[in-house]
């Protein structure tokens, strides 16, 4: 008798990085020692028994595949409990679930990674993947927007990406802030400012719904086609396996048929 898919398995917190005032990154490893075989874009279900379960994008898989990272924003009951956790604590894990970015179809293309806030979490493994086989891809552009300088996450990575001559990195914040020398403006505006070119290019977007909506509108203005844009969508998910029902967009379940979608496959059912 196989175990029920909704039963979580134990994982231990190996490390905690405080990314911003409300986002922490947890480095986890499975208690059974198994590797986590996951592709960029996939997610796991995280449980704290007594406080529920929710889905989180895998934000990094470390080289040994035995450790992986989740960036979690403190927003509800479960995430509040997770933010109280310490190194060595056990939490529940199921997955990975969902589809992934078809990165290997993007060889030799320019890649625009466009992320807003915690939306950068599922995009970081895409960047990691491209950097690990850098020669196969064309120019890499990273556009990262956050509300304020305090909301900027992955500061270590940003430093490395900034120094990497093969990456053009743009960071922006919503409103002027003392001491900030980077760009100011919402992500869609910056897309326009830097004139993201659709020429032999792929755009990958993730962020708050309003950012995605207007970023896509701007990309259309710049002559982008829906089949060159990918996004990873979020809806409330519970089961992660296409059964509990709530995450549908049209006939597709975000947890099972997504979370990664090429835009032309969903435009009909999303008001974008």
């Amino acid at each position: 008798m196989t175990s029920h898919e909704l039963i979580p398995h134990p994982a231990t917190i190996k490390g905690i990085i405080t990314e911003s005032r409300d986002i922490k990154t947890f480095i986890l490893t499975r208690d059974n020692g198994h590797e986590l075989i996951a592709a960029p874009g996939q997610f796991v279900e995280v449980s704290v028994p007594g406080y529920g379960e929710a889905t989180f994008a895998i934000t990094r898989i470390h080289n040994n595949k035995k450790e992986w990272a989740l960036s979690i924003k403190r927003i509800g009951h479960l995430t509040k409990m997770l933010h109280r956790a310490s190194i060595g604590d056990t939490i529940g894990i199921r997955g990975p679930y969902g589809n992934h970015f078809p990165i290997d179809d993007w060889y030799n293309k320019s890649i625009y990674i466009i992320g807003g806030g915690i939306g950068m979490a599922p995009l970081r493994p895409v960047i990691d993947h491209i950097l690990s086989s850098r020669k196969k891809f064309g120019p890499l552009h990273i556009l990262f927007g956050a509300r304020t300088p305090q909301d900027i996450i992955y500061k270590e990575d940003l430093k490395q990406w900034q120094e990497d001559p093969s990456i053009s990195l743009v960071t922006t914040i919503d409103l002027p802030h003392e001491g900030w020398t980077g760009r100011i403006g919402l992500v869609p505006q910056v897309i326009k400012d830097i004139q993201c070119s659709p020429q032999n290019a792929i755009a990958v977007l993730c962020g708050p719904p309003v950012m995605i909506k207007f970023s896509i509108a701007t990309l259309y203005e710049l002559d982008w086609k829906a089949d060159a844009m990918y996004t990873t969508l979020e809806m409330k998910m519970q089961c992660g396996i296409g059964q509990c029902g709530r995450c549908n967009i049209g006939e597709k379940f975000i947890c099972k048929d997504g979370p990664v979608f090429r835009l032309d496959h969903i435009t009909e059912f999303v008001d974008i």
């Binding site: 029920h4 909704l6 719904p209």
Partner: protein
């Protein structure tokens, strides 16, 4: 030559069930306060199987309203104890065609999946379904508009038909044969009487046409009085949505999957507050589209078997099938020819 039937005299039905009761948990509909509901077999009570509409769908016997998944104790390091599914043999008697077809739909959702629901599968495996043909259709019944008839036997192990002084029975599956292999039943040349069934009560547009209606401007005006109470989803034998919750009492707790409804505002509301279907008409539209189009694209079967429970249970008389028909008619008027190939090809998302 038509397949033979076996005869069960009404006077011997309890004798028959009492024998089975030694090795089967038995459930069947009983009439209580004018409503037919599935209950466990009671030796004391008279048995008279329903000739038509049963208020209670059999969904809850396969997907309990509150299904325990695991137990835990807050203080133990890794506290999770999985709950075992029930294993005792079970006989469900007196199920109509609409619920039989609904079971087939549930199988597609919970068994024909890379992530099988082992609880549901265990409930299915332990259960023998003895269905009964309806004698008549009530005013809200519309299985005939959903490609089913009251004589349909899909999803059943045994089919029964009422005669003057008892029932005719025929085994459909091996499981059914085991039950009917009993000396109380006598083989007979009698055949159930064929009936004509009416249709066109709540006709529907095709799933493809429904998809085309997504942006048609009729949705805001349908079911205006809907309270979004969700009773139609709970009564529906093919509504499968559930909510996973942790229930904690002091340090002991359980994780449970409880019935949920797409009509509830909280259903899709995310932790940060964003709600993609915050408005009532958006949720009604999603429900109707899911019933008559999305489920077809996902599983090759629409998720309505015409049982009519949503019609009966609605406290404000917003009829879902009537609305579906109204929308179907509106689409037909607006778009006489509908391209279907695009819509169907979308059923297989590119990976």
């Amino acid at each position: 030559m038509a397949k033979k039937w076996k005869r069960l005299e009404k006077s011997r039905i309890k004798e028959f069930l009492n024998e089975l009761h030694a090795s089967y948990e038995i459930w069947l509909p009983y009439l209580e306060e004018d409503k037919w509901r599935f209950k466990e077999y009671d030796i004391e009570k008279e048995i008279d199987l329903p000739s038509s509409f049963v208020h209670d769908s059999i969904k809850r016997l396969f997907l309990p309203r509150r299904k325990r998944i695991m137990e835990f104790n807050k203080h133990k390091k890794w506290p999770v104890v999985p709950v075992s599914p029930p294993a005792a043999n079970r006989l469900l008697m007196g199920i109509h065609a609409c619920d039989g077809a609904a079971l087939q739909y549930l199988d597609r959702v919970f068994i024909d999946s890379p992530y099988k629901d082992t609880f549901y599968e265990a409930e299915r495996n332990r259960t023998v379904i003895a269905g009964i043909q309806c004698d008549r259709m009530e005013s809200m019944c519309h299985c005939t508009d959903r490609g089913i008839s009251p004589e349909h036997r899909d999803g059943m192990d045994i089919i029964m038909s009422r005669t003057k002084n008892g029932y005719l029975l025929q085994a459909i599956t091996e499981k059914g044969h085991t039950i009917l292999n009993n000396r109380i039943l006598a083989e007979t040349d009698e055949q159930p009487v064929k009936k004509e069934w009416s249709d066109q009560r709540y006709p529907l547009a095709t799933p493809e046409a429904f998809l085309e209606s997504y942006s048609v401007d009729i949705w805001r005006d349908v079911m205006k009085y809907c309270l979004t109470c969700g009773i139609c989803t709970f009564g529906c034998p093919t509504c499968t949505c559930f909510h996973v919750a942790d229930e904690l009492y002091k340090n002991e707790g359980e994780r449970v999957a409880v019935w949920d409804s797409c009509q509830f505002r909280s259903y899709s509301r995310m932790a940060a507050g964003h709600n993609p279907r915050a408005r009532t008409f958006e949720r009604i539209k999603n429900r109707i589209m899911d019933k008559f189009a999305y489920s077809f694209l996902r599983y090759g079967q629409i998720s309505c078997t015409g049982c009519g429970r949503c019609v009966v249970s609605c406290p404000v008389k917003c009829s879902l099938p009537e609305t579906a028909t109204l929308i179907s008619n509106t689409i037909k008027q607006k778009k006489p020819s509908l391209a279907s190939s695009d819509a169907v090809s979308r059923s297989k998302p590119e990976q």
